[in-house]
């Protein structure tokens, strides 16, 4: 879990609504957390079945050799847009009745430099952060090494954050 009081210092990352976060932190029964488990498992299954965790599909995407990934990401954005529109239009609440708020992202140079670095890594490993876990789940245990290196990367970022251009 992230330490919210710590990341607030110079937060270039996505902010989390503190109010709703502390609200939802009140009680943590296993039943309350199970929704994350269910969505997570479904997400993992979709990752594998849609082959978006495949190194081959990522290589094809970056070489314009197949439409596959563009189709998957494009339809995800399309469904996302409709979902956000519906949530805003009907003011849909979370299961526990909290209001859903969308925060605008602020531009900083990290999105350019970090984005380029992430893109390099994406084409090397064939995975962005979520799919790393799904790749391990499919039995590619060596990806644990990739995951450890990715976590190390996030630590090094945290260590160098003040010195990096944003």
């Amino acid at each position: 879990m992230k330490n919210f009081s710590e990341t607030r210092i110079a937060d270039f990352e996505v902010e989390i609504n503190e109010a709703s976060e502390s609200n939802s932190r009140t009680k943590h029964s296993w039943l309350y957390n199970i929704k994350y488990l269910i969505v997570g498992v479904l997400f993992g299954i979709v990752f594998v079945k849609a082959e978006i965790i495949s190194w081959f599909r990522i290589q094809e995407m970056f070489r314009f050799q197949s439409f596959h990934m563009y189709g998957v990401i494009g339809s995800a954005v399309f469904v996302g847009m409709i979902s956000i529109w519906v949530i805003k239009k009907f003011n849909i609440k979370t299961i526990r009745g909290e209001t859903i708020t969308f925060q605008s992202k602020k531009f900083n140079k990290g999105q350019v430099f970090g984005g380029l670095l992430f893109g390099l890594g994406w084409a090397m490993t064939g995975a962005c952060p979520g799919p790393l876990f799904a790749q391990i789940g499919t039995g590619a245990l060596v990806v644990i090494v990739v995951l450890i290196c990715a976590v190390a990367g996030t630590w090094v970022y945290g260590y160098l954050r003040e010195k990096l251009p944003h």
Partner: protein, 116 residues
């Protein structure tokens, strides 16, 4: 991880992964033939990790994924999918940079690494 396991062991497709012919031909020049799984075993295996190119791809690649994601303030789902759905222009910039990084790696740098 559980989702990946369930999909791989209970819902799996027994056929080989279909790979674009142009990519297959290119991979052959790097001695990569395995298309049985979603990841080629010549790189994504413990033996692969011990080769120079496999070590570079897995270790340096993993590091860049973690470092870049935090530096950019989000990953594919955070910026490309969620950010674009919510019409956030910083996310569009991030997504374009993800793609530029990927194009450069896949087309310019990867061919060099794969021949190591």
């Amino acid at each position: 991880m559980i989702g990946g396991y369930v999909a791989a062991y209970f819902l799996s497709n027994p056929n080989e992964v279909e790979v674009a012919p142009a990519l297959l031909a290119e991979l052959k020049t790097y001695n990569i033939y395995d298309t049985q799984h979603l990841l080629p075993k010549e790189i994504f295996s413990w033996d692969g990790l011990l080769s120079l190119r496999g070590f570079l791809l897995l270790v340096a690649g993993g590091f860049l994924v973690g470092f870049g994601t935090r530096y950019a303030g989000g990953c594919t789902s955070g910026h490309a999918i969620m950010g674009l759905s919510n019409l956030q222009w910083p996310s569009l910039i991030a997504t374009i940079c993800f793609m530029i990084g990927g194009f450069v790696m896949a087309n310019l740098i990867l061919p060099i690494i794969m021949k190591l």
